[in-house]
């Protein structure tokens, strides 16, 4: 094998690994539990994160939604079909799942997201 072909093969291998790392780090999914336990709010809400298909969250319950990658995510909350709140939140680093309480959302203030254990929460 010539030196040139060794360099080409090495570069291809490095590219292969780099693409793998990119896919893993940017595509990794995390679960966000959206709580709708606000006593002041009547009725179910519909939540869409990062433009995905909206998911209904019944009053007094919660729903787990998968988001791609940590970092910033866009959330849209709708009541009775009309947009009620649009904002952004940051997924807590070093955690695989987090909870977001709709009752804690105040227009103009940062959305609070707390890390949770997905196994216990899923039950």
């Amino acid at each position: 094998m010539t030196k040139r072909s060794m360099i080409v093969r090495g570069a291809l291998l490095a590219l292969y690994i780099a693409v793998g790392i990119w896919a893993y780090s940017t595509g990794k999914g995390y679960k966000i539990f959206v709580d709708n336990t606000d006593p002041a709010v009547a009725g179910a809400i519909t939540v869409a994160i990062d433009g995905a298909t909206p998911v209904k969250v019944r009053l007094g319950g919660y729903t787990g939604i998968m988001v791609k990658g940590t970092g910033s995510h866009r959330i849209k909350i709708m009541r009775e079909g009309a947009p009620d709140f649009i904002g952004e939140f940051r997924f807590p680093p070093e955690s695989t799942a987090a909870a977001l309480a709709v009752s804690g959302i105040r227009p103009g203030s940062e959305i609070v997201v707390t890390p949770v254990d997905p196994e216990t929460r899923d039950r």
């Binding site: 893993y24 999914g29 995390y30 791609k68 899923d122």
Partner: protein
């Protein structure tokens, strides 16, 4: 008049499989009572789903190895990649890239292994490939049911069986569903065109056209014509045949990932087998033989087979008052087509041999009149 009849006879003889399938589809459409819009929108979706997979069969046919039933090995590799992507929660197109990166080395290894065996079973490649597919099923089941969860830990309950050992029989692929199709989806009226998937299929077509013109492609065609002469001409026949199978297995791996991201769920232990049967039926219905296949055959075959899949269950319901019978008929026709194509191939080979013998005996006129080679 006789010349016209001869031409028609030759056309029917060469395209009998396609003609039968087209006739069945045309009969099934009115009975199904489905609208043209429904059939067409379904066809567009299914075309994006399966075309890549069927392309995997072209190169081995070109190299004279017949229908590569061992493409099941590549499809299995793609499924292993997807299992890991789902277990690691890799979503969207990144999940598909991750699955491809894991599946490709496995498919290359399996393709090399398969090529080695097929070289030792020269002349009986199709039946050997078929049995290799069954052998791989056993290995894959051992891997999925015992190695996964025992040697390789499964991280999520979505993948693991209830007792924690082995991979579930059915996997939901929601996190990667439409990962490729939905990157750019062009909506024209009631029809949605997955542009990126079509672009990938177009790229593969360009690759195949280019590949046929390369030295390796020419070598494969020469080997497909006559192995002994190719060997005498200095072509490394064994290596070229192995490469044909390796590329086919690799394409089957990627094709299966594209197929499953469109479906959105995976029957862990059977999806790969269905992929092999479907691809074989589609390319044969498209007019390919076990010795000749083109891009046109792939497109016609995918179009016709899916037309029948869409219409037959409902036509069966209308005709026999049971959608199940329509489904059985689709499967029966699928396998029947594979059998018919293989029987026709054997019949043509025998007829050509008879004609050649007659020609040697001085019956040159007979050979010229009836020969189709």
């Amino acid at each position: 008049m006789t010349l016209k009849a001869d031409k028609l006879g030759k056309f029917l003889s060469d395209n009998i499989v396609t003609v039968i399938f087209l006739a069945l589809t045309l009969v099934a459409i009115p009975f199904s009572r489905l609208s043209g819009t429904y059939i067409l929108s379904n066809l567009i979706d299914r075309f994006a789903r399966s075309s890549f997979l069927v392309f995997a069969l072209i190169l081995p046919i070109m190299a004279g190895m017949g229908i590569n039933f061992a493409m099941v090995l590549g499809a299995t590799a793609g499924q292993i990649g997807l299992i890991f992507a789902i277990d690691n929660n890799i979503m969207g197109v990144q999940g598909l890239v991750y699955a491809s990166l894991l599946g490709m080395p496995i498919s290359i290894l399996l393709g090399w292994f398969c090529g080695q065996i097929l070289n030792r079973a020269r002349g009986r490649e199709m039946v050997t490939g078929f049995i290799l597919g069954f052998f791989m099923d056993g290995v894959y089941q051992f891997f999925g049911l015992y190695v996964m969860g025992w040697l390789i830990p499964i991280k999520t309950g979505q993948v693991a069986q209830i007792d924690g050992g082995g991979v579930r029989n059915t996997l939901g692929l929601e996190s990667v569903r439409g990962g490729l199709d939905k990157i750019i989806s062009l909506k024209i009226g009631p029809f949605a065109f997955p542009i990126v998937t079509f672009a990938v299929i177009a790229l593969l077509c360009v690759f195949i056209i280019w590949f046929r013109k390369t030295k390796l492609g020419q070598d494969m065609r020469a080997i497909g014509q006559e192995q002994g002469v190719s060997h005498s001409a200095g072509i490394n026949v064994d290596r070229t045949r192995i490469l044909a199978i390796v590329i086919s297995t690799l394409l089957a791996c990627l094709g299966q990932i594209i197929y499953l991201q469109n479906m959105g769920n995976m029957f862990t232990y059977t999806s790969q087998r269905q992929a092999g049967y479907f691809a074989a039926a589609a390319i044969l219905v498209g007019g390919a033989t076990v010795t000749r296949a083109t891009i046109k055959n792939v497109f016609i075959g995918v179009f016709l087979v899916h037309s029948l899949y869409i219409t037959m269950p409902l036509a069966g319901k209308e005709l026999f008052d049971s959608a199940m019978i329509g489904q059985y008929m689709s499967d029966f026709i699928n396998f029947g087509i594979i059998s018919l194509a293989l029987v026709l191939h054997a019949w043509r080979n025998r007829r050509n041999a008879d004609l050649a013998r007659a020609g040697l005996r001085g019956g040159a006129a007979l050979a010229a009149a009836g020969g189709d080679k």
